[in-house]
Amino acid sequence: MHWRKLTGSLILAIALISVDYRYAVVDRAAPLLDLVIHPIMVVASLPQQLIDSVYTHYQGIEALAEENRKLRQQLLENVFSSRTLEALEDENRRLRTLARLDIQGHSKQALVAVVTKSNTNAFRQTITINRGTRNGTYVGQPVLDERGVVGQISNTSLFQSTVLLVTDVSHALMVRNARTNDRYLAHGNGQGLTLKFVPRHNDLKSGDILLTSGLDETYPEQHLVGKVTQIITQPGRDFLEADVQAGAQLHRNREVLLVWNRETPEEVADAD
């Protein structure tokens, strides 16, 4: 009489889904579950790490020297641009103080995290990183890469954190058009982002660059979010929609940057 067991199993499973859907039990129990899953994940990523280390080992001195040269060059360039940035930031702060506006400077605290898993799932677009609460991560923390915005931490436990990507359907952020300074709400759509409810006669063009606005109190200002690829106008609608291609290499990153954007206690600064 298997069908009785089947019905029982199905009812229990559906109950479990609804409990999880409603109360996010698993998200709350995640730190505990991580302790079980973490070792499996570590074992699973061992072959990849082995291949990586072997590859690095045999890359040869010439390639490394070349890379070193490039990095030195980049470092010089970066030092130059960071000096310029500092000067600008200083000036900005002075001007803002003069104008009695809130100071929202650049965050100085950042930490590199290694991506341990990329979940290209239809339901959730997330990556898992190897930094957790022991490094001072918090839910809602912005995650960037060298190109732009990756997402924010949706779940964090002792050893690892889950990063909700900007392309996830449950993710939305306030963006600013770099050309016109217009602001839009960008929703994730599973593959890229969508701007919804853009007024019909808004000056939005394909190829426009979108930056973070800094208004959502999650992401720092002026970071690349993506590029408008297509404007969708439907006759009879008051609003138009636009497709946006994410600027960051969401699923191709090996390392991402964690940024402490909020005012955080001193110990967070010393975490690493």
Partner: protein
């Protein structure tokens, strides 16, 4: 009470399948990752008929959900149905060669994928598209090899219910 030897192999193979599923693949290859956990589960249901059942569907489903980061229980539903169908039609699956079983196993996995596809459309309003089905052909190719290898496990010989 003595725990039967095959239970040990069952647990071991499920852990191995979980590790394989959690193995990060490059972006282009990720959708082609075979359904290791489901296939290992099917193997145990058809070889240990009447012994391996819904309990395993729950363990395997939980592991799959945790890896995928879904709401817990989504995989348990389809795995329970797969277990039921396997237990119902185990004779067909058990006594035909491993190559022929590729088709029914593919059918079971298609059922699973169709269910996930529908859920994705209705629950998160995202149509994952045809690439979502990429894991089906790879699973069907991998299945005969997996079946052949797992039958080498001493306790993996077809048992009677």
């Amino acid at each position: 009470m003595r725990i039967e030897q095959w239970r040990f192999y069952q647990a071991l193979s499920l852990i191995a399948a979980t590790a394989l599923s959690a193995w990060p693949l490059p972006e282009g290859l990720a959708p082609w990752q075979p359904h290791w956990i489901a296939m290992v589960m099917i193997f145990w249901v058809i070889t240990q008929t009447g012994k391996a059942g819904f309990g395993m569907a729950w363990v395997a489903g939980l592991a799959s959900d945790l890896i995928a980061g879904n709401w817990i229980g989504i995989h348990i539903v389809s795995y329970s149905i797969i277990v039921y169908l396997c237990a119902r039609f185990y004779r067909t699956l058990q006594f035909s060669g491993s190559l022929e079983t590729s088709l029914p196993v593919g059918l079971l996995l298609a059922l699973h994928l169709g269910y996930l596809h529908l859920l994705s459309i209705f629950l998160s309003n995202v149509d994952p598209g045809l690439i979502f089905w990429a894991s089906l052909p790879t699973s069907m190719v991998v299945w005969p090899i997996l079946y052949f290898l797992m039958k080498k496990i001493p306790a993996g010989e077809p048992g009677l219910p």
